[in-house]
C-alpha cells in the first residue's frame, strides 16, 4: 500500500526535491505551498502523514498543526529551520509528533517518517489495564470506564510502551528509541512535551499524575509510585 504524504512547504525547490526522494522511497507525495490552503489540501489528499514547515506564508505552521490535530490524529513531522527551544516546543505543543531540523539527510527524514507510520501490529487480541484505563492493543483504543479516549497514534504508542511493563522506569532516551525510533540520543523535549499531552488526556488531574509518573532525574513509569 502506497502511503500518502502531504508536504506543506513554501520552498518550491525543496518541495520538488522532497517529491523526488519520497517517490524514490515508494511514497505518494502531495504538495501545498502556503498555510491558508493547507487545510483544504489536507482534506483533499487524506494523507497518512504530514510533513509541515513551521514558517509558512499565509498561516503559521504551528496554527496549521493545531488545526490538523483538531481533525485527525495522523502523524505530523515538523520541518524546521530553527532549533531554538521555543519554536520546537511550540510546534510539539501544537500536536506535532516529531520534528526534523533543516538541513536533514533524506535517509534520516525517511527513517523518522517510517517510525511514525509503523504500526505495532499485534495479531493476538491483547487488553491491558493500567490505573483505570483499558487499552485494546489491536483496536488501538483506550477506554476509561467504558468511555473512549481519543489518543493520537504516537500518544497511544507512548502509553502502550509504558503500560506493557508497569513499574519499570523508562529513561527519556529509551522512550525516544522505542517510541520515536531514534537510534542515537535525540532531543528529550520530545518526550517531555508528549508526556504532558498524554497526561492531559488520560489523567484525572494532570498536575498530579497517577498513570504516567515522573521519576525525578531518571524518566517515567506507568502506575502509581
Amino acid at each position: 500500500m502506497t502511503e500518502r504524504i502531504l508536504v506543506v512547504d513554501d520552498d518550491a525547490a525543496l518541495s520538488e526535491m522532497l517529491g523526488i526522494v519520497l517517490r524514490g522511497e515508494g511514497f505518494a507525495p502531495f504538495f501545498c505551498a502556503d498555510g491558508t490552503s493547507a487545510m483544504r489540501a489536507f482534506r483533499e489528499a487524506r494523507p497518512d502523514l504530514v510533513l509541515l514547515d513551521l514558517m509558512l506564508p499565509g498561516r503559521d505552521g504551528v496554527d496549521v498543526c493545531r488545526d490538523i490535530r483538531a481533525e485527525s490524529g495522523i502523524p505530523i513531522v515538523m520541518l524546521t529551520a530553527k532549533s531554538d527551544t521555543s519554536d520546537v516546543v511550540l510546534g510539539l505543543e501544537a500536536g506535532a509528533d516529531d520534528y526534523i531540523v533543516k538541513p536533514f539527510k533524506p535517509k534520516e527524514l525517511v527513517a523518522r517518517m517510517r517510525a511514525r507510520l509503523r504500526r505495532s501490529d499485534s495479531l493476538e487480541p491483547e487488553h491491558l489495564q493500567i490505573g483505570g484505563l483499558t487499552i485494546d492493543v489491536v483496536g488501538h483504543s483506550v477506554k476509561r470506564d467504558g468511555r473512549a479516549i481519543s489518543l493520537t497514534p504516537l500518544e497511544f504508542d507512548l502509553l502502550l510502551c509504558l503500560a506493557r511493563k508497569p513499574k519499570q522506569v523508562f529513561t527519556r532516551e529509551i522512550l525516544l528509541q522505542d517510541v520515536w525510533g531514534y537510534r542515537h540520543a535525540a532531543d528529550t523535549r520530545l518526550v517531555n512535551v508528549h508526556v504532558q499531552r498524554l497526561r492531559a488526556k488520560i489523567e484525572d488531574d494532570p498536575d498530579k499524575p497517577e498513570i504516567v509518573v515522573t521519576v525525578r532525574g531518571v524518566g517515567y513509569k506507568a502506575g502509581p509510585s
Binding site: 520552498d11 525547490a13 525543496l14 526535491m17 522532497l18 523526488i20 526522494v21 524514490g24 514558517m55 529551520a81 530553527k82 531554538d84 527551544t85 531540523v101 533543516k102 538541513p103 536533514f104 539527510k105 533524506p106 535517509k107 529513561t171 532516551e173 542515537h184 540520543a185 532531543d187 528529550t188 523535549r189 525525578r216 532525574g217 531518571v218
Partner: protein, 525 residues
C-alpha cells in the same frame, strides 16, 4: 565581642556621618576642656588672691596686736606666768576674729622649747599647720603662708589658709603664731563655678555634636539617596532617578546623576535593540540558508546513492559534494550557535540529569570514531550516579567535543574520561596522552578557528569553533572549562559545573590534569 568590634569598625568605615560627628565631638571636647580649665583657674586665682591679701593683712595686724599684748604684759612689772601670757595673747586675737570666728589662731611654742604652753582657739588642732610651714616659720623672722586643711579636735575639717610668723614671748622663748583662715565659703563658690562650667561644657559638647549630626545629615542624606539609587540603577532598574530639590551643589549632583542615568539608559536600550536586530538577523539567515541547503543536501544524497552508475570522475565528484556538504552543515550550525551566544540569545533548558550516564552515552556515540582510529576511550568514574541540574543537550555537546578532540590528538594512546563531584560542583575531565599542548598555546585553545599547528590538517572534520562553543556552554551554566597540557605528555580538559542552578563554584572536584583517573586506575589494579 569581636563581632561587635568589627561592627563598630565597619560602621566607622562606612558612615561619613559617624566619622564627621565623632571628629567634631573629640575636637570640641578638647577645646571646651581647655577653655573650662582656663576659666576655672582664673576664677580660682581671682577669688583666692583677695582672700589671701586680706588674710595676710589681718595676720600682720594680729601679730602686731600680740606683740603689743606681750610687751604690755612685760612692762607691768609683775612676773607673769607663761600660760597666763599665752592665754592673754590668744584671748586678744580671738577677740579680733569676732564671733563666729573669721579665723582661728594657734600659738605654738618652737620645737626647742619643751613644756611651754601652747594654745589655740575653737578646738583647732596642731595638725592643721603643715610641717613645711612650721619649718619655714621657725627658720625666718618673716610671715609665711600656705594652703592647708584645717582640722579641729572634734573631727571637723575645712579647707583653709595658714599664715604663720615667729613671735618671741618674753621669759618663755620663741613661739610661732599661726592664723588659720577657713576658705569654706570660697570652696563653695569654686565648687559652684566648677559644676556650672562642667555642666555648660557637657551641654555645649552635646549640642555641638547634635548640630554637626544634623548638618552632616543634611549633606549625607541626599548622597546616600543618590548612592542607593545608583545601586538600584546598577542592578538593572534603569528607570531609577534621584529627586532634585533646590539649586544647590547637591541638586547639581542629582541633576548630573540623572543626566548620566538617562544617557546610560538610552545607550543600553540602543544596545538591546541592536541585539534584538542581531538575533532576528541570525534567525532569518538561519532559515534562509537552511532551506536551500536542505535541497542541496538531498540532491547530493540522491547523486551519491546512484554514484555507481556514473563514470569514476563524476562519481568522485558526487562523493566530494556529499562529504563537503556535511562539513558545511556542521560549520553553519556552529556559526549559528556562536552567533546566538554573541547575541546573548542562548538559554538553558535545565533538567536533572545523571552526569555519569550522560558521559557514558557520549562515549558510546563516539565509539565509531574511536574504533576508526583504534583508540580506547576509557571511562573511570569515581561515582556510579551523579545527579546534576543542567542543560543535558549542551553538556553532552561539550563532552562530545572534548572526547572528539582527545581522539583526534591521542596518537593511538588511550583517552581517559573522569567524572567527579562534591557538594557544590561536578566535573568531567578528558585526558589524552598524545601530542600535548605548549604553554603558549594554552590560552588560545578556546579561540575561534584556532589551530595548535597550522600545518596540521583537520582530519575529523572539526570546525574550529567546537571549543569556543563548549566554553560558552560551560559559562552559561555558571561553570568552567579549563585546559591543561604538556608537550609530549598529553592534554587534559576539565569541565566543572555547579550541581544546582545558581550554585557558585569555588574549586573543582577533579584535578585539571586528569590525574585522578590514573590514581584510581592504580588503586583498581
Amino acid at each position: 565581642m569581636i563581632s561587635a568590634v568589627r561592627r563598630v569598625r565597619a560602621a566607622w568605615r562606612q558612615s561619613l556621618m559617624l566619622r564627621v560627628t565623632s571628629a567634631t565631638l573629640v575636637l570640641s571636647i578638647i577645646v571646651v576642656a581647655l577653655l573650662g580649665l582656663l576659666l576655672l583657674s582664673r576664677v580660682t586665682s581671682g577669688l583666692l588672691e583677695s582672700t589671701q591679701r586680706s588674710a595676710l593683712v589681718e595676720a600682720s595686724a594680729g601679730l602686731n596686736d600680740a606683740r603689743r599684748v606681750l610687751s604690755a604684759a612685760n612692762t607691768g612689772g609683775t612676773p607673769v606666768s607663761a600660760s597666763t601670757l599665752v592665754d592673754s595673747v590668744i584671748t586678744a586675737l580671738a577677740a579680733r576674729a569676732g564671733s563666729p570666728g573669721q579665723f582661728d589662731v594657734l600659738l605654738l611654742s618652737n620645737k626647742e622649747t619643751y613644756l611651754a604652753p601652747e594654745r589655740g582657739t575653737n578646738l583647732v588642732s596642731v595638725a592643721s599647720v603643715p610641717v613645711e610651714l612650721r619649718d619655714g616659720v621657725a627658720g625666718s623672722d618673716r610671715q609665711s603662708w600656705t594652703y592647708t586643711e584645717i582640722r579641729y579636735l572634734d573631727g571637723r575639717t575645712a579647707p583653709g589658709l595658714a599664715v604663720g610668723a615667729p613671735l618671741n614671748v618674753p621669759t618663755v622663748g620663741p613661739y610661732e603664731l599661726y592664723y588659720l583662715f577657713p576658705l569654706t565659703l570660697q570652696q563653695q563658690t569654686l565648687d559652684l563655678v566648677r559644676s556650672a562650667v562642667v555642666g555648660t561644657a557637657v551641654l555645649l559638647v552635646l549640642l555641638v555634636g547634635l548640630i554637626v549630626w544634623l548638618v552632616t545629615r543634611q549633606v549625607v542624606a541626599p548622597v546616600r539617596t543618590a548612592a542607593r539609587t545608583a545601586e538600584r540603577f546598577a542592578s538593572g532598574h534603569l528607570e531609577e532617578r534621584v529627586a532634585v530639590r533646590g539649586e544647590d551643589d547637591l541638586a547639581r549632583m542629582a541633576t548630573a546623576f540623572n543626566d548620566m542615568a538617562a544617557s546610560i539608559e538610552a545607550q543600553i536600550h540602543q544596545l538591546e535593540e541592536l541585539s534584538l536586530v542581531q538575533q532576528r538577523f541570525v534567525s532569518d539567515v538561519s532559515h534562509e540558508l537552511r532551506t536551500p541547503l536542505t535541497t542541496v543536501r538531498m540532491a547530493a544524497d540522491v547523486l551519491f546513492e546512484s554514484r555507481d552508475t556514473f563514470d569514476p570522475a563524476t562519481a568522485r565528484a558526487a562523493e566530494l559534494l556529499s562529504t563537503q556538504i556535511d562539513r558545511f552543515e556542521i560549520l553553519l550550525a556552529d556559526l549559528l550557535e556562536i552567533s546566538r551566544y554573541d547575541a546573548g540569545a542562548a538559554a538553558l533548558d535545565i533538567d536533572a540529569t545523571d552526569l555519569v550516564g550522560l558521559v557514558r552515552r557520549v562515549i558510546d556515540s563516539a565509539e565509531p570514531l574511536a574504533r576508526q582510529r583504534d583508540i580506547e576511550v576509557r571511562l573511570v568514574p569515581n561515582l556510579d550516579v551523579c545527579m546534576v541540574e543542567c542543560d543535558s543537550r549542551r553538556i553532552a555537546r561539550v563532552i562530545r567535543n572534548l572526547i572528539g578532540n582527545a581522539i583526534e590528538h591521542a596518537e593511538g594512546k588511550p583517552v581517559l574520561v573522569g567524572v567527579g563531584a562534591d557538594g557544590v560542583g561536578a566535573a568531567v575531565t578528558v585526558r589524552d596522552n598524545g601530542v600535548g599542548l605548549n604553554e603558549e598555546d594554552l590560552p588560545h585553545v578556546f579561540d575561534r578557528f584556532w589551530r595548535a599547528d597550522p600545518a596540521r590538517a583537520r582530519t575529523t572534520g572539526g570546525t574550529g569553533l567546537g571549543l569556543s562553543i563548549a566554553l560558552e556552554d560551560a559559562r552559561l551554566h555558571g561553570g568552567w572549562l579549563e585546559a591543561w597540557g604538556e608537550p609530549g605528555t598529553g592534554a587534559s580538559f576539565r569541565l566543572t559545573i555547579p550541581r544546582h542552578v545558581g550554585g557558585v563554584l569555588v574549586e573543582s572536584p577533579l584535578p585539571l590534569d586528569g590525574a585522578v583517573v590514573e590514581i584510581d586506575e592504580s588503586v583498581k589494579a
